[in-house]
C-alpha cells in the first residue's frame, strides 16, 4: 500500500487571481518580502499496488483523467510506502 500526495496547480502561464488576492493581503500585513503566490490543491489518497511503479501508473492515470484538467493545470505527486 502506498500513500500518494498530489499537488494540482494552475499552469504558470495562467493568471491565478486567488494567489494574487492572497499576495495582496500579505503585502498589506507588511510581508513585503513575500511574493509570487500561487494557490493549488492538495490531494491525498491511498493506492493498493504491488510496487511503486504500478502505484505511480495508477495515480498518473487518475490525475490525467479526473484530478487535474491539463488544459489549465499541472500536477505532481509523491508516493510513500505505508
Amino acid at each position: 500500500m502506498y500513500k500518494a500526495v498530489i499537488t494540482v496547480k494552475l499552469r504558470p502561464s495562467i493568471l491565478d487571481p486567488e494567489g494574487k488576492a492572497i499576495e495582496h493581503a500579505l503585502t498589506s500585513l507588511g510581508h513585503t518580502a513575500l511574493g509570487g503566490v500561487r494557490v493549488g490543491k492538495h490531494i491525498e489518497l491511498n493506492v493498493a499496488a504491488a510496487d511503486q511503479a504500478q502505484a505511480a501508473q495508477q495515480v498518473e492515470e487518475a490525475c490525467r483523467k479526473l484530478l487535474a484538467n491539463t488544459v489549465m493545470e499541472d500536477y505532481s505527486f509523491t508516493l510513500t510506502e505505508i
Binding site: 494552475l10 495562467i14 493568471l15 487571481p17 486567488e18 488576492a21 490543491k41 479526473l66 484530478l67 484538467n69 488544459v71 489549465m72
Partner: protein, 238 residues
C-alpha cells in the same frame, strides 16, 4: 406542427433546470423531459440541455465529476451521432470537461461572483443555435457565475476564431468589444462557442432567463427558437 423534445439533465446541484424546462415547455410549447443524472435513457430527446448550477457541488473543479455520470455517457453518444446539445453556465463547464468543447473555464479574473445582465454580440448566425438572429446583433441576457473565464492556449484560440466557432462575445451595448464589457476575463471576450461539427453549444450567459418580458428581456428566445426552426422547419409562435 411537430414538436421537439428537450431533455433537461438534472445533476445534484443543478439549479437552472426548472428555468430551462419552463422556457422550452411553457414559453415555446415544446416537449420537455427531466433526465436524472443516474439514468442512461435520453427519453427520446432531440436536444439535450445541460443547465446551470453547481453539479456535484463543483467539487474538485466545475463539471469535473458530472462528466463521468451515467447520463453524460449517453449525452456524449448523442453528440457524436450529431444530436444537438446546449450547455449553459455549469453546462458549458461540463462540456469542456467532457471534451465536447475545447478550452476550460477559470475562476473570474475579479474573483467576484458576477450576477448581472450582459450584452452579447452574435458572431455567427449561421448555426443551428443562432439562425433566429442576424450576425452582429446584440442581445441582452443575464450572467451568474464565479468561474466563467474562458481559457484556451493560443493555438486553440486561433483555430476556434478562424473556424467561426466563437458564437457569442461580450460587448458594450453598442456592440463594441471592450474589456469593460467582459465580466470574467475570458479570452477575446468569448461568451459562447460551438464545436466544429456545429451541434454542441456552450455559453456562460443564461438565455433561459431571458425568455419573457417579466424577466426584463426576451432576447434568449432566439437560441431555442433557432433550434426549433433548424430541427422542425417551423418558426415558433412566441
Amino acid at each position: 406542427m411537430s414538436r421537439l423534445t428537450f431533455g433537461v439533465v438534472v445533476f445534484p446541484g443543478s439549479n437552472c433546470d426548472h428555468d430551462a424546462y419552463h422556457a422550452v415547455k411553457h414559453v415555446l410549447g415544446q416537449n420537455a423531459e427531466f433526465l436524472w443524472h443516474k439514468e442512461s435513457d435520453l427519453k427520446g430527446a432531440d436536444v439535450i440541455v445541460l443547465p446551470g448550477g453547481f453539479s456535484y457541488g463543483d467539487y474538485l473543479r466545475c463539471g469535473a465529476i458530472s462528466r463521468f455520470s451515467s447520463i453524460m455517457k449517453e449525452v456524449v453518444r448523442h453528440a457524436e451521432r450529431g444530436g444537438h446539445v446546449i450547455g449553459i453556465c455549469n453546462g458549458f463547464q461540463i462540456l469542456t470537461e467532457a471534451g465536447l468543447l475545447p478550452g476550460a473555464l477559470l475562476r473570474n479574473e475579479s474573483l467576484h461572483f458576477v450576477c448581472r445582465d450582459v450584452h452579447l454580440r452574435v458572431e455567427n448566425s449561421d448555426t443551428a443555435f443562432t439562425r433566429a438572429f442576424s450576425s452582429g446583433q446584440v442581445m441582452r441576457i443575464p450572467v451568474a457565475h464565479g468561474e466563467g473565464n474562458f481559457y484556451t492556449d493560443e493555438d486553440t484560440l486561433k483555430q476556434i476564431e478562424d473556424a467561426g466557432q466563437v458564437i457569442f462575445r461580450y460587448v458594450q451595448a453598442d456592440g463594441t468589444v471592450h474589456t469593460d464589457a467582459n465580466p470574467n476575463g475570458s479570452r477575446n471576450n468569448i461568451a459562447g462557442i460551438i464545436n466544429r461539427q456545429g451541434n454542441v453549444l456552450g455559453m456562460m450567459p443564461h438565455p433561459e432567463r431571458g425568455m419573457e418580458d417579466i424577466l426584463g428581456s426576451t432576447d434568449g428566445i432566439g437560441v431555442f427558437a433557432s433550434l426549433i426552426t433548424t430541427l422542425t422547419g417551423a418558426v415558433p409562435v412566441q
